[in-house]
């Protein structure tokens, strides 16, 4: 048989490229080290901050090597990998994943490892520890936290004849100041807005908490249509009534991505927004000339007890069930939980730290001039996090839709929230019943 030269060449090229790709893709052997695979959600400067921590850890000892991989949709992929029996040893997921992952038996309980390592509840800001603890057990440990505050544009305040040093204290003041700041063009279109609840739209589920409501009673009841929640959505609707829901919507559609210079606040189109501790960093990058400040988000005038409310969010580390090297993975977790590791990470990501103790150096070096405000808000009694319930993703999607319907004036707050209530209550019951049955079977 005659083999043409071209075929041989082709085969050689194919074989070589397979070999080469293997070489590129396969994790490097680390002789003498136990390799821990770690999947994390971050990219960009946030990813780099964690990479620095990983490098620091890898340098600090010679037994374990953390192999850090930035991965999109890390929660879903971790879940699927765990189902296939090949999860990473460590995964960085979101706060709202803790309950469903724990319910699905997808992550390890960390109580024992924590007590061995001396990781104690009292070292953490309570709201962040509570996110990690679920039904009395620890399923996760913090990476970077974030609290929120009102950010306001001092230039727009001055232009509207307002004192740029005095932010609104109550929601009533917020509304009134917003009216003064709002400008319309000659064509009647909104040019500048004071404040409106759909921007940035990340806490649309949470406005009820601002009015003293909540969405879940911690047990078997969804509480979406509490009077406080309805009052909150009436407040949301008051903006559509005042400015016209389609005008607001059109106005909003002109903004770009959050992290772009076309962001509503950074492009000075909206004078007041609810934003997180990270905002200062994005302002610095996109519009360093912006004259801004931050203060606690306003409260209803008749509820002074709700002052200093903040939405506390947290990124967490979990060890997926089926991880091959859980103890070694926890060694790294422990390193991240140390004050040194944590401050390196949180400073790199320009957030605050979830630990009670903060070094002076951290505060001094932090680029956010209001870093103390965000720490104090997180430590305060009105720090709110998303309900720790396994059906939250679906619940949140319903709340987002209800917000849309109220905001677009398609439904009254009572109808929209009544609808969420009627839809989610049976879902919660079914979910909890299935959970109980599975636990009884175990």
């Amino acid at each position: 048989m005659r083999i043409p030269g071209a075929s041989v060449l082709l085969l050689a090229v194919v074989a070589a490229s397979i070999g080469l790709s293997e070489h590129v893709v396969r994790p490097k052997e680390r002789p003498g080290r136990i390799v821990v695979s770690y999947w994390e959600k971050w990219t960009g400067f946030e990813g780099e901050a964690m990479r620095e921590v990983v490098d620091e850890f890898n340098r600090s000892q010679d037994r374990i090597w953390v192999d850090y991989l930035s991965i999109s949709a890390v929660n879903t992929k971790t879940l699927m990998a765990a189902a296939a029996g090949i999860p990473p040893d460590l995964a960085g997921i979101w706060d709202t994943d803790v309950a469903p992952f724990a319910d699905a038996n997808a992550v390890l309980v960390l109580d024992e490892l924590c007590s061995e390592a001396g990781i104690r509840q009292e070292d953490y800001i309570p709201v962040y520890w509570d996110i990690c603890e679920y039904r009395g057990q620890i399923f996760a440990l913090p990476t970077t936290p974030a609290s929120t505050a009102l950010h306001w544009n001092r230039r727009l305040f001055r232009e509207a004849g307002l004192d740029p040093d005095v932010p609104p204290k109550t929601l009533e003041e917020l509304f009134a100041m917003g009216e003064k700041i709002t400008q319309r063009g000659s064509d009647g279109k909104l040019k500048v807005a004071g404040f409106f609840p759909a921007e940035p739209g990340w806490w649309n589920w949470g406005w009820g908490y601002v009015f003293g409501g909540k969405l879940w009673d911690g047990g078997g009841n969804v509480t979406a249509n509490l009077p406080e929640n309805i009052r909150a959505f009436e407040w949301v609707r008051s903006f559509s009534e005042k400015y016209g829901s389609s005008d607001l919507h059109t106005f909003r559609s002109g903004f770009g991505n959050f992290s772009s210079p076309q962001n509503a606040f950074m492009s000075e189109k909206v004078a007041m927004v609810l934003q997180g501790v990270w905002m200062a960093n994005f302002i610095e990058r996109n519009n360093p000339k912006l004259d801004w400040s931050a203060a606690p988000f306003p409260h209803p005038a008749d509820r002074p007890d709700l002052a200093n409310l903040t939405f506390a969010g947290l990124d967490v580390l979990v060890i997926p069930r089926g991880a091959k090297r859980p103890r070694e993975a926890f060694e790294f977790v422990r390193f991240v939980q140390s004050q040194k590791g944590m401050e390196l990470l949180c400073l790199g990501q320009k957030k605050h730290t979830p630990l009670m103790k903060v070094s002076d150096e951290f505060l001094r070096k932090h680029p956010n001039p209001h870093i103390r405000l965000f720490i104090d808000l997180a430590k305060g009694k009105n720090a709110v996090s998303a309900p720790q319930v396994g059906i939250w993703t679906e619940f949140n999607s319903e709340m987002t839709n209800a917000f849309d319907e109220v905001y677009l004036m398609k439904k009254t707050p009572k109808e929209a929230l009544g609808h969420v209530q009627a839809r989610m209550q049976p879902k919660l019951e079914r979910y909890q019943q299935a959970l109980r049955q599975r636990e009884a079977a175990r």
Partner: protein
């Protein structure tokens, strides 16, 4: 071993890679998903058989009906529009004009744009405040809607975006058009047919099998719409006007960990597409002419 058996064996051996791939990657998942659709399955735990409960739950799930309605409305908007436009463009591209290769390429190129890039571009094109579409409409004195923010305009916007990808259909129509025998046009001309009559009574009947094929492929594609709205409209916003069937299916499977429920949705969609394809075949049966028969 007889020659026949030898040949059978050899044939099977040659087909073995395909048979293996087909069974592992297609037949097994298909069969498994039928089973899972009758279970409560969160992927991480063993599936628990619950009979037809997923199906009966779906019948009572208003969001199931809402997403189905959204999907059918979109299909009703997008299908006729793309059918008419793509046949029209194909007819134009079939005429003898200088530089035709350029026009044909220009029509086909947009369908090469990746879905995600397409979605991002159209997000800006349809921007209610500064979008190119509204700038153009405003230029001729039309007060254009907020395409992306207004629940009653979001689906028409998607239907317009669907026109962007008709290049594939146009190519198929063109192939059909070039197959129409010249002799038919010549005899029509002898009988004094106008250009319109030639199109109506010669061209369209002759390419009717191609139209039928594109119609059916269009039904299937429209009912499976996913990537573009998923990128353009998070959570099916505004007010779930763009929350389509496959998006709800995806959310159930991968965000709510209800894989059994999602499998049931998948099979209902399959049956629906199957039924609609059958109806389309029946309805067009009498109007489709096969030149060769």
């Amino acid at each position: 071993m007889t020659v026949r058996r030898k040949e059978t064996l050899a044939g099977l051996l040659f087909a073995a890679p395909w048979i293996l791939g087909f069974s592992v990657f297609l037949a097994y998942p298909l069969a498994a998903s039928v089973y899972y659709s009758f279970t409560d399955y969160s992927v991480l735990r063993e599936p628990v058989f619950i009979g037809a409960q997923n199906y009966s739950d779906l019948m009572r799930d208003e969001l199931f009906w809402k997403t189905l309605e959204n999907t059918l409305v979109f299909a009703l908007l997008a299908l006729p529009a793309s059918l008419v436009v793509s046949v029209g463009i194909a007819l134009l591209l079939n005429s003898r004009v200088k530089g035709m290769a350029f026009y044909r390429t220009a029509v086909y190129i947009p369908s090469l744009v990746p879905m995600i890039a397409l979605a991002m571009i159209w997000l800006w094109m349809f921007n209610g405040e500064r979008g190119l579409v509204n700038e153009l409409l405003g230029g001729v004195g039309i007060k254009a809607p907020n395409w992306i923010g207004d629940p009653s305009w979001s689906k028409p916007a998607l239907a317009l975006i669907a026109l962007w990808g008709i290049g594939n259909a146009v190519v198929i129509y063109l192939a059909g058009l070039q197959d129409v025998p010249q002799s038919l046009y010549e005899s029509a001309e002898l009988d004094g047919a106008t250009p319109w009559k030639k199109t109506r009574f010669v061209t369209l009947p002759m390419i009717s099998p191609v139209i039928q094929f594109n119609l059916i492929m269009g039904i299937i594609a429209a009912l499976q719409i996913f990537a573009v709205p998923y990128v353009m409209f998070p959570n099916g916003s505004p007010a779930r006007s763009t929350y389509f069937y496959t998006m709800y299916l995806f959310d159930n499977a991968f965000r709510y960990q209800k894989m059994g429920y999602a499998c049931a949705m998948g099979w209902i969609l399959f049956l629906l597409i199957f039924a609609l394809t059958m109806i389309a075949l029946r309805a067009t049966e009498k109007r489709v002419h096969y030149g060769g028969v």
